[in-house]
């Protein structure tokens, strides 16, 4: 056979023209920034919706000027209807879970930094990568269409529970076309995420630079890799579920709709379907999704903490193995979302056990972070503050998970604000703190400019205190028996605690407003920030060995060779107390 081994010169040619450079770019860095921008739009939309919900909840008769323009039926004269509250709830959850918590820590940062951190020029399949972003964008666009159609967004919540999500018009406003848009949007999102996950896995397995063994990958690379393995399984199950849901809605099938179901006084023409089947399929995706949101942030936070402490973690290996076992266990626990679904109590017990087991690797991770922080002389930058804030949120939100994991307690707590407080802290805010930390940390690399530290720290303190003020009381309200998904609590048993809800609304308004500091900081620093050198934080991983911002082909014509573990801090190196991964120098242990 004619054996010719010719390395392709470049994965793709240098981008030419505006469209190739900025819109339909094959460059993983541009795609990462596009994901980040989409997540920013989605997170501000979602936050705005939460403002509207919180205001309506405590002042249900309040006239919000301009709201009638968003929906004539949903907010006649600017006063929100109870159904429209549920519409906003659905859109808030869907936007935040799919387009923020999946896109920002995983797709955005992963796309930008995973190839660079392993010394690759680009992702394995740049065209798939471009497709997965634009498919995600299409999914977002289809979802947002729900706001402008006369029917309005669906009212079934982000879990879109059957059978009511499957029967259409009879289930209420937004359930005719809004819910269809939801299903189509999420199906498209699944395809995009599958393409993305495939790309991440192939890239990590096969495009690592010489010397970059698996164990020499930085912790965030590991986190993205494990996350992509989880995403591959999870979205591969949600996609069929969405297809079956769409068929139930539009093709007259009965996968999820039982016989004899009456909605809005009309007997639904279906028979024999299983509403629980949707819950099983959905949560088989839904629980791993929680880890798709949080694992990348765990990796990012570890990466940043090590850099700010100038010393390695107690054990990086244990961090990797803990993240792996969290990923593995995440597939055995979906039933803990269904303790009150009428499932066999024995099944509940079977799901409760692995759920409690997850707390072991999670606790190990926390102890490693805290143990490493103990006695460390940490540099308090905006990035490291948010990293520490992440641990705080993870612990505070995680501890309530112990209670919810037990069926007997969950039966009481499941439908209350306890759950709302729990998942907002541990999944939402914690994961976002990882994103904030990553933004402050990597901004100089992505743009060649520093972010403003003063505004950054102000942003941190308002956000940190604010999120505790919003979500901590939810736990207590839940214990009192405050039901979730209700549009307001004015004239009922909750009226003695209305002041607390009002305080939380004020806290939400202030904390939300503080996010505009962040937005301002990002936009201002992008153009006017102080110029940053190649390696401003004296970090060891490969992304800091190339110019800021990196050129289109990352390493130019250089093929990086990796000599060291990712976290050689606290050693005597030629550049200071650290040795870069691609530096061939010998490491002499200092002190000890």
């Amino acid at each position: 056979m004619h054996e010719t081994s010719v390395e392709p010169v470049h994965v793709h040619a240098p981008p030419q023209g505006f469209w190739r450079k900025h819109v339909f770019s094959l460059d993983h860095k541009v795609i990462g920034k596009q994901y980040y921008a989409l997540a920013l739009v989605a997170v501000f939309t979602g936050m705005f919706l939460s403002w509207l919900m919180r205001i309506h909840m405590v002042w249900p008769d309040a006239k919000i000027h301009g709201l009638e323009l968003l929906s004539k039926n949903g907010a006649p004269g600017g006063v929100m209807t109870p159904e429209y509250y549920l519409s906003l709830l659905t859109m808030h959850g869907t936007l935040m879970v799919f387009f923020v918590l999946t896109n920002a820590p995983f797709a955005a940062f992963g796309n930008y930094f995973l190839p660079i951190q392993i010394g690759a020029e680009d992702m394995a399949f740049p065209r798939f990568n471009m497709m997965s972003f634009w498919t995600t964008f299409l999914a977002w666009f289809v979802l947002m269409l729900a706001f402008v159609i006369p029917d309005g967004p669906p009212i079934a919540g982000w879990t879109e529970y059957t059978p009511l999500s499957a029967v259409g018009r009879d289930a209420g406003p937004g359930m005719q076309w809004g819910a269809s848009l939801w299903g189509i949007s999420i199906a498209i999102f699944c395809i995009a995420s599958l393409l993305g996950a495939l790309n991440f896995i192939a890239t990590t397995l096969d495009l690592r630079a010489k010397g970059m063994t698996l164990m020499r990958m930085p912790l965030c690379t590991w986190a993205w890799f494990i996350t992509s393995c989880i995403a591959l399984l999870a979205f591969a199950v949600l996609l069929p579920a969405c297809i079956l849901l769409i068929l139930d809605r539009h093709a007259g099938t009965s996968f999820f709709i039982p016989g004899g179901l009456v909605a809005s006084d009309r007997l639904q023409p279906h028979s024999g379907g299983s509403p629980l089947l949707w819950q099983h399929l959905f949560w088989f995706f839904g629980h791993p999704e929680v880890y798709i949101a949080i694992l990348p942030s765990m990796g990012i936070v570890s990466h940043i903490l090590i850099n700010s402490m100038r010393k390695p973690l107690l054990s990086a290996k244990v961090v990797i193995y803990s993240m792996m076992s969290i990923g593995f266990l995440s597939y055995m626990v979906w039933g803990h979302h269904m303790f009150v679904s009428g499932m066999n109590p024995l099944s509940s017990l079977t799901f409760s056990f692995p759920t409690l087991t997850i707390t072991i690797p999670a606790t190990i991770l926390t102890l490693i972070w805290l143990g490493s922080l103990y006695g460390a002389r940490i540099q308090l930058t905006s990035a490291s503050l948010f990293a520490i804030g992440f641990i705080s949120m993870f612990v505070s939100g995680g501890i309530s998970g112990f209670f919810l994991a037990q069926p007997s307690l969950d039966i009481y707590l499941h439908g209350t604000y306890f759950v709302v407080g729990h998942f907002h802290m541990v999944m939402g805010v914690a994961s976002l703190f990882g994103v904030f930390a990553g933004t402050y940390f990597w901004f100089p690399k992505m743009t060649g400019r520093y972010m403003n530290e003063t505004i950054g720290k102000l942003h941190f303190w308002i956000t940190f205190i604010g999120t505790y003020l919003i979500f901590m009381p939810m736990h207590y309200l839940g214990l009192i028996g405050n039901v979730r998904r209700y549009q307001s609590f004015v004239d009922d048993y909750m009226s003695p605690y209305l002041w607390l809800h009002k305080d939380m609304t004020v806290a939400a308004l202030i904390t939300g407003a503080a996010q505009f500091l962040f937005l301002y900081n990002v936009i201002y620093s992008r153009f006017k920030g102080a110029p940053a050198p190649e390696n401003p934080w004296n970090c060891t991983s490969l992304e800091w060995s190339i110019p800021s911002p990196p050129p289109w082909n990352n390493f130019g014509d250089r093929h990086p060779i990796v000599y060291h573990d990712p976290y050689q801090y606290g050693v005597k190196g030629s550049q200071g107390d650290f040795v870069m991964q691609d530096s061939p120098e010998q490491i002499i242990a200092s002190g000890d």
């Binding site: 392709p8 793709h12 798939f128 096969d206 399984l233 297809i243 007259g252 024999g272 399929l281």
Partner: protein, 213 residues
Amino acid sequence: MASTVAPAVQSAPRLGSRNGAVPVSFVGSSADRASRSGIWVGIFAISMSFAAFSSALFVRQGTPDWTHIVMPSVLYLNTLLLLASGVTLEISRRSLTAATLIESDHARRARIWLLATFALGIAFCAGQYIAWQQLRAAGFYLATNPNSSFFYVLTFIHVLHVLVGVAAIVYLLGRLMASHSTFRRSLFENTAVYWHFIGVLWIYLFLLCLVKL
């Protein structure tokens, strides 16, 4: 996958290009290894999707309104067609392994057998269409009963996957026919892996629809 590797080939120098005589492959680059991983990861994800469909089917089989329908007879023929296409693709693949240049007897044989695979693939899709027609004629529509619902859904999505494979084969045929193009054999290998997977998947789905547990 096809469009992914193409640009790399364009930028690679053409070796031994004389009168359209082009070497059959560049071997062993990391991009080749990545596309090999990619196809297996993709197969894993597709399997997972069908596992989800299967578990939905098992749940639904347990409900009282399940009626088991008799499968259209043309499906047996379709199964044979798809199995045969696996064999022709394998003959083509092995001919190409022996080929060194695009303009050789081995490469010509690879082209003919690949064309046969393409024809069999299209015939399978047509056969599935006939099966749907037969079911409709017997009064079984998508929403008639849970078994027919699953049958239409599973076979339709499987045919979509077959069409992706057919598209890859068409692309390969184009590369093999054009005398001035370079050719990346890993693409052929990956298409073969995918095509065999589609065949195995069909046998699984056919058994799933045929047998009631």
